[in-house]
Symmetry: D2
Subunit: 444 residues, 4 copies
């Protein structure tokens, strides 16, 4: 991806997690932890381990050379280990013997990637907290701001903006929990050697693995997962679901910003949302990019799942396909979250316009209220038909539903005018929205 | 999908869960539970509830008519409720007033779908147990059956077939846990009324919801999830991951059945795996279809995730897109599992051929053993280079690696011939494979 | 897919093309054409060919048995050939020798599928003509019906509804051409024998192939395409693009049907677009299902492309993955087209409301007109800034842009009031829309 | 994507086409062509156009600033035009008035993208020619190199390596034609102004468009395609199909490089295909990365198709989703092609091993030959059964098929030993492979 799009799709923080420097650092953390754990278990000399650890610094790596050599090695770990060995050798010939001892390229790369994912998930959790804070504030503030609930894009019956924002928050809480769970249970170290049997070490291999996992803050897996890629797929899927949840929120806001709705607006800023030709424009910005990202992510997730059929003890292509897709998934998620923080900060809500929009249909938005009230008397079906007739009358004539009903004896024999008046009251039309909001706030 | 492919892609049991009859039954279970719970909370008369419950039978529904009317209603719930109301009315005019009272079409359809998913997950768990049993048996039996571990499709170093089967089982155990978790936490009833506020009932709406959830064996959600589709996406993703795990196993078996490998075979049966032209053929059958299904599933999952951006309080299209994709995901998963049970039952393992295949390279498969042994003396890099040279010699000349090494003083100054002999021993080349196998069996 | 969704996703006509009976018939047409061509080239006796041809009838096939046996054969062609051979044998033992002579299962299945695709494309072309007719009518009728052009969902500057409909038609014309091209160049017979070398016949194999292609109305390929699946992928992609084009039209209409826009409506019908709870509703129906289908198709196309990496001379899984996905692609395309015919038939256009919607912003929709007029005097940038300021004033105060500009000396020193008046004229704001419409109609 | 993966997934040449500098240059070419054409039609002063053209240089643009501002504008065209205007203004205040006159952001961005695609397709065509040359050479050289044809991964009957290479080339020729067609018919200039009506210019707008198209070497479209994205989707799909074709070739080679097959190898080079642990390894490199890319592309294509439902006259998100996916599609295709050139250069073919592999089954690979010969005597079914029995005997006993048949009177009553001998001849088993090869070479 080039710079011209960088600020649109991504966040600086997440890009940093997936920078070259960070990728190298994470791979080198594996090598350092390996040497250390092997020294702890007296598999290699402590003095050698110390030198190796000291050399595990991304700054010492020649990136250009590494990139060049990775093309012949079909992964960057092989040239990285080669460079590290040389760097160590310059300081201590004996120590160089023990670089990457007992590990295979995929051990380095998978663990490096998992460490990057771990950082990514922490960043995501942090930004999710900010979005959550913003939404909680919006919910509290607009708990009583009445607006049209809309189904299949047409007005259905009243809700509040607080209720709508709670509907955005609720699934985000689930996504956040799922990601925490993944941090705790799914992100495991990879360490198996050439074919996963830890064959290159004596019986202490498993203890080395345990120690490394602890040192790196990762799970110790029961079994090598070189070609069991459900962990990676689980991460991809959870991020796909998270971004889908954010996309739903963004989509709603783009709709509410329509000229004809004009109920909610992204916060204003100098030069934000303008057009190169149209001087009156105020375009959605953050919500546009979140929906763009939410359109791209599912396909990337599918390419991770497609790559799960990995051959034997190391795949030929499927593993190599993961790197690009997973990096992009994490980076785009970072971008979507950053834009979501922006989007939910200082969101402008036009309560007056919300009310006006509901009033533009002559009271149709209260039709279900009357229908429900009549149901108790004449049954759901008859009530529905009666109201349908009245609503069609309103649509054709442009009058007010209440007036038409007042003149309909089939209605008024069951309802008095006071009752009818109450059925056309916004505040009385909100059902359990406050109770439901409280339930979401309680889980937040 | 037509019958000509039915037995290839699907299982009869899962097709049953997603049959028309089952879809109707599950929707009607919602309507029955609704009436019952409303009667319990004195929102509708008990006698009416009893009639409604009695009429909630798929057999009473005119399916052709329902299909016809659903085209005008853009979902099948509306005509279903209409038919149910008529059926009830014929028995009890009063009761007909309370059919579907306070619910919306999406409540019926979502809950119906979740009930179907619930059944699907039970079926999957059952079949996963069978696959697990088969794999545990294979692991125990072939714990010491040595074969080539292969990376990037070429021989790397020895493993056992038990180790390979454990690598298949390990991710399936995780998938099984994830699906159980989804059953317990994700599968929630949908009940919110037109816009999710439970506006059509008095304050007892939430209690009705709780009671219905209990009756239907589903979670009671904090908040309406009409347009928060992470629950559906989570199901789709978990099944995608499961099938990816099965696909990896199947892919391995297709490779092991190759004429040139010939190490493992699907069980033989009259007429199974033949060709219309080639009389000598024994084609992979179950593994072929599992890989076929595993290629299809990721895209279907992505279409569920793509549909997550659902507008406002009910989507216009995105919700409607889910039905076909999710049904297909569940049905294909059912098929993949059934084929996996077949695949792992009576799998034929040719231990002799496994050994012969490893011997065809003149001992190259032991190269890492020697390299590791030399590493302690001369360091990893020097050892690797020495062995690489010797291996190239073997490849060019066709000799035996051991013989070449025995004649190389650079090697023999560090190793005596006894030690070298040991390095060319299969049993001594398996690292911690047994220990790792035990860890998987312990979680099984 | 079950019946409850049938009318929503599919069309009866296309379902017929992909019915079991049709699949069998198309495969049997291959067998008949093969026997005939072989008799013409004296490879088999004419009398035998005649019996074979006579037996190639789907009605004679036991479908249940075929489905059962296909599970062991991993494709339905093997049991079909077996049944056909028995049927022929009962009539003529000699003729039974020559059934399926020289062909392989994939020859039958691929050619059968191509024949089904051919029928599907004809049906699609037919329905596209109907959509085209409807759109041409709408374009002509609404060439001067002014409405808001909208960018990023907010009002930009005026267009006409005819212009919008022309924008829908233009890409459909390209899709139609592409599909015709595919019919002529891409749909080729498959006939290669076991590994594609036509090894089972003497040198006349190629001539037999030519004759069969002619008989079946298909291309004669240069080379066997058993594992070169670009032809299938091209079909899938072209249908994906077509449905994407239809989806764009449908999406626009769902937006125009919003309560707040209310400019365009799907034709009304008894029971169409109602709600189970809301008596005033008029929901989008056809456009809802078209967008639903357009969300599902891209993923299905990707699964066809994913299946292109087919091993050697016949794939193990990837070929088997195509059947379900391609069938679904064709069937969903059929449904999208049928719904598109419905959607464009008797579409209701509310010209008055279109004008009202443009007037709700105090003339902002004319802002670019003034900006362009001023550009000639003071440059694009200065003009843009001046107007931006005035527009913000309108948005804040709620006044009319024209009035504000009339009072701004920085504007009026360059424009007189007559000129300004003209800049706020709808008819003068439409640019070359008529000319562009004519270009589209000319290609139609 | 970071540098550590750059050489694996991409090519330097294609990355250059999609570099920031190239993106800016292509957008500026639009602005220059616009000014020039407007001057030719006397819409703006020639002298102003000259200054604008002179300033349209990517080197003058402050990329950091542009990236920063694009985040507020939700596309990079707006800040680019702003910068260009300032640059022009510094030289000529009058000329600055006419920068970007009558165009909208999407005109610049779409046309810029199409110009990049045009360059990409030329590069692809060039590399395809190289692959084609390599394959033609391989086909000629190995026209008579006999190897096993394999179906469902098991040996079926003999082909030649030339035949296999021709099967790789054939679909590539079709892809190449399709891409040429896209260059000629699909790549159109975008120029419509704010809502596509060319409203900002007088009647000369269309002539300006024609002139610009000619100048830029692109098609002049009938109609604005701001939200008709089939052109973009067609490009994506054609590249998806091309890469699928390359993936099939690569997949075959990874399989042929298996230790147990060992028939074909990627060219050797110092440091190529080694392992970090296994000294004897020769891993597939180019074919690994091509399969990796071929696994990623279909999903990216689907995300372009998913983005086709673009709202009204400019999309909110769907357009913005295209940029990242399409860039990645082109870049990955560039990488796949570069690796394909490498892969097909100096491919090593082991004809002897090919023959040995066929001989390992005791003659089963000739089973169909005998079956076909017997078919003329006893019919296809009886012949098939007879051979099946004999083949099972070989598999069980390990003998030679020919010997077993010689002892079977049911066979020998129809065939004499001379005939039987001929049926076990490789050269006589190749059917029309040479004739088919010639057909492919003729189209090349």
């Amino acid at each position: 991806m080039h710079k011209v799009y960088d600020k649109l799709y991504y966040s600086a923080e997440m890009n940093e997690v997936f920078s070259d420097a960070s990728a190298l650092t994470c791979m080198l953390r594996f090598e350092a932890a390996l040497a250390q754990a092997q020294a702890d278990h007296r598999l290699i000399p402590r003095s050698s381990a110390d030198v190796i650890v000291a050399c595990c610094s991304a700054e010492l790596v020649n990136l250009e050379l590494l990139a060049e050599q990775s093309a012949l090695a079909v992964n960057p770990a092989i040239p990285l280990v080669k460079q590290l060995t040389l760097i160590v050798k310059e300081r201590d010939v004996e120590a160089a013997k023990y670089v990457h001892f007992g590990a295979t390229s995929q051990d380095v790369m998978d663990t490096g990637l998992v460490l990057q994912i771990n950082q990514a998930l922490r960043l995501i959790d942090h930004d999710l907290q900010l979005v959550q804070n913003n939404l909680v504030e919006l919910i509290e503030k607009h708990r009583h701001t009445v607006m049209a609930g809309r189904t299949l894009l047409t007005q259905a019956r009243p809700i509040t903006f607080g209720f709508k924002a709670a509907a955005w928050l609720d699934p985000l809480l689930r996504s956040r929990n799922r990601l925490k769970e993944i941090c705790s249970n799914t992100l495991a170290i990879q360490f198996g050697g050439a074919v996963g049997t830890l064959a290159s070490m004596n019986s202490k291999g498993l203890e080395v693995l345990m120690l490394m996992a602890k040192e790196l803050g990762l799970q110790a897996p029961s079994f090598t997962w070189h070609t069991a890629r459900d962990r990676i797929a689980d991460v991809a899927a959870a991020l796909g679901v998270l971004v889908g949840n954010l996309g739903k929120m963004a989509k709603d806001i783009t709709l509410l910003m329509q000229t004809e709705a004009a109920e909610v607006f992204e916060s204003a800023a100098e030069g934000k949302g303008g057009s190169s030709t149209l001087p009156h424009k105020r375009n959605p910005i953050s919500s546009t990019m979140i929906t763009a990202i939410a359109m791209r992510l599912p396909a990337l997730v599918s390419s991770i799942m497609t790559a799960m059929m990995q051959e034997h003890e190391r795949a030929v292509g499927a593993w190599h396909a993961e790197w690009g897709s997973l990096t992009e998934i994490c980076k785009l998620t970072g971008g979507a979250l950053k834009q979501s923080v922006n989007l939910t900060t200082d969101l402008e809500v036009d309560a007056e316009r919300m009310r006006e929009n509901m009033e533009m249909t002559g009271g149709l938005i209260f039709a279900e209220n009357v229908s429900l009230a009549l149901t108790e008397k004449i049954g759901k079906e008859a009530a529905h038909e009666l109201l349908e007739e009245a609503c069609n009358h309103v649509k054709a004539s442009g009058g007010q539903l209440k007036e038409i009903l007042l003149q309909d004896p089939r209605v008024m024999e069951h309802l008095n005018s006071k009752t009818l008046e109450n059925l056309f009251d916004f505040a009385a039309s909100l059902g359990l929205s406050n109770l439901l909001i409280d339930r979401v706030l309680a889980s937040a």
